[in-house]
Assembly symmetry: C2
Homo-oligomer: 339 residues x 2
DNA sequence: ATTGGCACTCACGATCAGCGAGTGCTACCC
DNA sequence: GGGTAGCACTCGCTGATCGTGAGTGCCAAT
């Protein structure tokens, strides 16, 4: 009973099951794959794989289905990423290049990925903290209201209005704007807290409340939970494919609407920021997502990513294809942002 | 056979069906509602209502179910809006007041509405064209790149980058910014095309290409289809409620993901901008939405709305409650935007 | 270690009868 | 003429029964 063949059997089971969506039996297996042995032999291998927890049978007298552990092994050791076709690549690039806006880029990315994988796609907006300041604008709107606009090099624009106790002079606002920009432009926003610490001291006492108020709201913005924005697309794909996922669709949708859940997952997976990371079924640690897998990778920035993009589908998905699509879209997305 | 009682029967059927989700028969009807007549009489009325196309029976020997036409009559003439409870109102207000941002306001509105109605909620971002210019900022980023940022009084921020043929001087950019703001601030963006028409002439010939480029990109931004942004929440609610909607969920989700479809509907319904509008089942004119109803109303601005908010659910939804929720959230949303 | 054979299990689909909610119709009453 | 009571009829739903076949596990043979 060779170890190699057992793995080969597991791979065959995964591939067949992904394709047919039905438990795969020993007979079908030898027919569809040139394994060179009889069904009975396969049955022994299957028994061993089941013993090891890599496959399971839904009911007695049914074929085998891969377990989460089985998929894990498949992803880690048995699969090879299948690259996208040339036309596909070009289509992605062309589509993303038309974007006019960060919102538009993100939107197009998530759509194209959903389209490619025929699953749910998710994109995190570039993290404010990890982006660099491109420009900070102060706009006086009304007597004692100030609009603070932060623009990052990733194209993100964040804005807050500020109610002031006293109306500042045009001149002070101008000076503050100039100094803030001189100080901050080009730096990561995360560094800002340190950079801004001593800023008030550079101003006359009368102006300090204003300066403090502005720096505070900037810091607040960075601390905000809403700092992290997430966009989904392709939820309709969950329902597609007939009798596939259909019954337990509710919990999945609920989980996907909980931004907190998605954020946690994406953050956890971010440890491995550069390559494609996979979370399978129970590994998501979320009740509604036990039949769901995440395939994500970082994008933007070289070395450490500025945010993540990924695809969400049933555990029984085509991992090699999904991984390829995610990686491809992430690359083009990075390129567009950098360009 | 009094006309009045027939309508009363229709109302009873709608109310019971909405509540029980099962075809309602003559016996149940007289038991649950004090109609003061016997089932046989009701049957006659039912026959008449069926004749008129207001109700139908799924199969022979089953109870009756309201048709789209029946719901329409119910909504138009038989229902009275049930107001929200005090705590509910306060909760909405409190939740929306915490918003820090336009994105945040929109996000919170759509969530709270989804929560209230237990259906899908949809919010259109304030239309750029109908908003007034609060500020227009030009930021020079890099040698020959200019960032054009438009900020509206509804809090919307739109941004575009502009590649220039030649590097403009700081001074020209400053002058352009000042003039643009002087010209445009306070006006509806829709009027901008006219306002900006003669702007280039006010500049020296060398500066004109820049001016033209900027005005052009502003106009382009307004023409953009992406000018209209839409946000959904509560799609998970479609799946909730057991065996209710479950089978034909796919098409609905697909339709909801097609922003174009939603936009068309919202726009069509906008004719009646101030009150609550309802589209029932086939009235949506969309294949995937034949079992779906839209309840929407305008928000922001008094007189003519700046955009729409609404709730989407099964045709067999609680119209009075939904209409009340939609109207309430729209009001608070308007208030927050104005404040 | 592999294979052929064989008994066993069990989900699935088809068939069928009984039940009951609901209807339409007709004859009757006020 | 509108309302009511009674009655025969329809038909979807439920549950039981049963055959079928894919698939398994085990064992003896190679």
């Amino acid at each position: 009973m060779s170890e190699d063949r057992r793995l080969e059997v597991l791979r065959a089971i995964v591939e067949d099951y992904v394709q047919t969506r039905e438990p795969v039996g020993s007979r079908m297996l030898v027919e569809r794959h040139a394994l060179g042995v009889s069904p009975a032999t396969i049955r022994n291998d299957m028994a061993a794989l089941e013993e090891g927890g890599y496959i399971a049978q839904p009911h007695t007298s049914a074929g085998r289905v891969p377990t989460d552990k089985g998929y894990r092994l498949f992803v880690d050791r048995l699969s090879t990423v299948k690259p996208l076709s040339g036309p596909e690549k070009r289509a992605i690039q062309a589509f993303l290049d038309e974007a006019v806006d960060l919102d538009d880029v993100v939107d197009r990315s998530v759509r194209v990925l959903a389209q490619l994988t025929q699953q749910v796609a998710v994109v995190q907006y570039p993290s404010l903290r990890r982006s660099a300041m491109r420009h900070l604008e102060l706009v006086q709107v009304g007597e004692r209201r100030l609009l603070v606009v932060i623009i990052t090099d990733t194209g993100r624009v964040e804005q807050r209005t500020l109610e002031l106790a006293t109306a500042p002079t045009e001149q002070v606002v101008g000076e503050l704007r100039a100094r803030l920009n001189a100080l901050a432009v080009g730096h990561r926003l995360a560094e800002l807290i340190v950079l801004l610490a001593h800023l008030p001291e550079a101003f006359e006492p009368e102006a300090r409340p204003l300066v403090v108020a502005v720096t505070e709201i900037v810091e607040e913005t960075l601390a905000q939970e809403s700092e992290e924005r997430i966009v989904l697309a392709g939820t309709a794909n969950l329902a597609r494919g007939g009798s596939d996922f259909t019954r337990s669709l509710g919990p999945v949708l609920e989980a996907l609407e909980e931004q907190v859940v998605l954020l946690r997952l994406l953050t956890e997976m971010a440890e491995d920021s550069t390559s494609v990371a996979v979370r399978i079924g129970h590994e998501t640690q979320h009740e509604g997502l036990t039949e769901t897998s995440f395939v994500t990778t970082g994008y933007g920035g070289d070395g450490d990513a500025v945010a993540r993009i990924g695809s969400i589908g049933p555990t029984r998905m085509d991992y090699p294809a999904t991984m390829a699509s995610v990686r491809a879209v992430a690359r083009y997305l990075s390129r567009v942002l950098a360009g």
